[in-house]
């Protein structure tokens, strides 16, 4: 279609778990003039109605932001509130939190890999069609997801919007014997995860690199529930300094905010960033899987994020087993967190990237202000930039093929839009 002077690809409203969005691409001759990915962000509502709530409420309220990654919201919220109150939750309670988070990673990544992303690579319109031809693979994906679910249900009380998490710890903590059946499930999941890496390593990946700085947590272990924020160019800062390094700004085309560094740079958060900045923190088994899959010291091709997710599932299953093996029941299910006036910050690694929370508490313990910066908002500018360059190199494709490729490219980032695999309805306008 290169003979056309101007092409406009407009993608209509998207029905999603976390909001609504659209994709708009305008091409004139050989130039991609504009790419806009609009995502509407319900977290803005949450910031408003958290005001005036008790300091104990954010874990339950913010868990409702997302049905796919509620634990991330609970963990960032707890960390931020506890920081405001001057309390540190560590030891066995900290390890249980990490264990719960492993469940979410397994569940979310398995969903994304098998039901949302793999069909793109294997040429199927969706998971159902994929399952008809690759039944064993999809069964493996469902088993994996179920294992993540089981862990979430066990520790969280239920798989969606867990109810057992509270500021200071948990409402109930398990006895070691209760964890034995889970360990069996997780051993099977670990084997399924290894098979997933091998399976995904056989996919064909378009040649494409992004040019953004990575941003991920960094700690003595592969980053999940805690750590300092680290950038790819050497910047390192604690959660409390997040807003000194990252600003969100309104863009005219979207009700969503775009995040960038205060010094102007775009950045990318999520599996590629985590892996590239923390590869040496993977468990030996996960590292070996990464090597076998051909993932090098860093991974800058967003299409390979499916491989990195698969490696992270191996890690999460492996880490969960390690945590279960070393589990010593805590003395009490939660430590007291008496409120005090102050501000607290929390950053954890949601499956799709950094999730920042800040709470300002009054002397009465009520929330005066809340700020939530989800990974999708942080990645949005990078996604748009990647799409711009991606489209520019593929203008020879017809509109249908180009749209399909754009859908796949958006799914690389697993934006918090738990969408169907047909999520872009394309309209082409020509002039």
């Amino acid at each position: 279609m290169t003979h056309r002077n101007e092409r406009t690809l407009t993608v209509g409203a998207l029905a999603r778990v976390e909001g609504e969005g659209a994709l708009y691409v305008r091409v004139r001759g050989p130039d991609v003039e504009e790419v806009r990915l609009d995502i509407y962000e319900p977290p803005r509502f949450f910031e408003a109605f958290l005001r005036g709530r008790a300091h104990t409420e954010p874990p339950d309220i913010t868990a409702r932001i997302c049905g796919i990654c509620p634990v991330a919201y609970q963990m960032s919220a707890c960390q931020a509130v506890e920081a405001a109150c001057g309390v540190t939750v560590d030891g066995a309670l900290g390890e249980l939190r990490r264990l719960l988070y492993c469940g979410e990673w397994i569940e979310s990544h398995a969903l994304h890999i098998y039901l949302l992303h793999a069909p793109d690579f294997l040429g199927y319109p969706g998971a159902v069609e994929l399952a008809r031809d690759h039944r064993a693979a999809v069964e493996r994906g469902l088993r994996l997801k179920k294992a993540g679910n089981a862990l979430m249900e066990f520790l969280g009380g239920r798989a969606i919007h867990p109810v057992n998490v509270r500021v200071g710890g948990f409402y109930r903590t398990p006895a070691p014997a209760e964890l034995a059946p889970l360990a069996e499930t997780l051993r099977e999941a670990r084997a399924d995860a290894l098979a997933t890496v091998e399976w995904a390593a056989g996919f064909e990946f378009p040649d494409f690199d992004h040019g953004h700085e990575f941003l991920a947590l960094s700690a003595d272990r592969y980053p999940l529930e805690r750590g300092v924020v680290r950038g790819g160019t050497g910047r390192v800062f604690p959660a409390a300094e997040f807003e000194r390094h990252v600003v969100e700004e309104q863009v005219p085309h979207s009700t969503a905010l775009h995040a960038r560094f205060t010094d102007g740079g775009r950045y990318l958060t999520g599996p590629l960033a985590r892996y590239s900045l923390n590869r040496d923190r993977l468990s030996p088994l996960a590292l070996e899987a990464a090597d076998r899959a051909g993932l090098g010291a860093e991974c800058r091709n967003p299409f390979r994020s499916i491989l990195v997710r698969a490696v992270e599932v191996v890690y999460a299953a492996d880490e969960a087993l390690r945590l279960i093996a070393g589990y010593e029941p805590p003395a009490r299910p939660a430590v007291p967190v008496p409120p005090r006036e102050g501000t607290g910050h929390g950053v954890t690694e949601a499956p799709r990237g950094l999730l920042y929370h800040r709470y300002d508490l009054g002397p009465d313990g009520l929330i005066r202000a809340a700020r939530i910066v989800p990974p999708t908002s942080q990645n949005q500018a990078a996604i748009e930039d990647d799409l711009r360059r991606f489209v520019a190199a593929r203008l020879h494709l017809d509109d249908e093929a180009l749209t399909r490729r754009c859908e796949q490219a958006i799914r690389n980032y697993d934006p918090c839009i738990s969408c169907s695999t047909h999520f872009l309805d394309l309209t082409v306008e020509r002039s």
Binding site: V128, A131, V138
Partner: protein, 162 residues
């Protein structure tokens, strides 16, 4: 094994009809009870081993008749493949996925309750709340005996007013 699965979000008004039916059944039936968000893999995992799975979900109709109850036979009904509210995929996708991987219950019944308000917040439209009570009573009657899986004959297929 019989399981009743309520699909929906109780913070999206009438989308909470399915979960409300399940809550109303607690302690009244010998069947398994579950609430979920409609995500196909979760649904498939919940119903895979069941002899009878009864899925209760809210639907949107145009023009709406809030509170009207439709009973669908999963074998013959055209189930939605797009969500009525915020479910990632439709129930039809879950059935198709379950079939593709051989993880379907022996029998699957779908009870659809027409909603009106799918906005943010708690609470059901009065006519939907009434339908929830009626559906729960009917299921409680049908499932009361341990292992009882019989539903009234006139509910087996097609539509009926609740």
């Amino acid at each position: 094994m019989t399981i009743v699965i309520g699909v929906g979000n109780d913070l999206r008004r009438d989308d909470g009809a399915g979960p409300a039916v399940v809550e109303a059944l607690r302690g009244r039936v010998g069947a398994g009870l579950a609430v979920t968000d409609g995500e196909p893999a979760r649904l498939v995992a919940l119903w895979a081993d069941a002899d009878l799975a009864i899925v209760v979900d809210a639907v949107r109709a145009d023009p709406p008749t809030p509170g009207r109850v439709r009973e669908l036979d999963a074998e013959t009904a055209a189930l939605p493949t797009r969500p009525v509210t915020d479910h990632a995929l439709g129930l039809g996708d879950a059935v198709a996925l379950g079939r593709a991987v051989g993880q379907m219950p022996a029998r699957l019944r779908v009870i659809a309750i027409e909603g009106d308000d799918f906005g943010f917040g708690e609470g059901l439209t009065p006519s939907v709340a009434a339908a929830v009570g009626a559906v729960a009573d009917r299921l409680a009657g049908a499932l009361a005996s341990p292992g009882g899986t019989a539903l009234p004959a006139d509910d087996r297929t097609g539509r009926g007013d609740g």
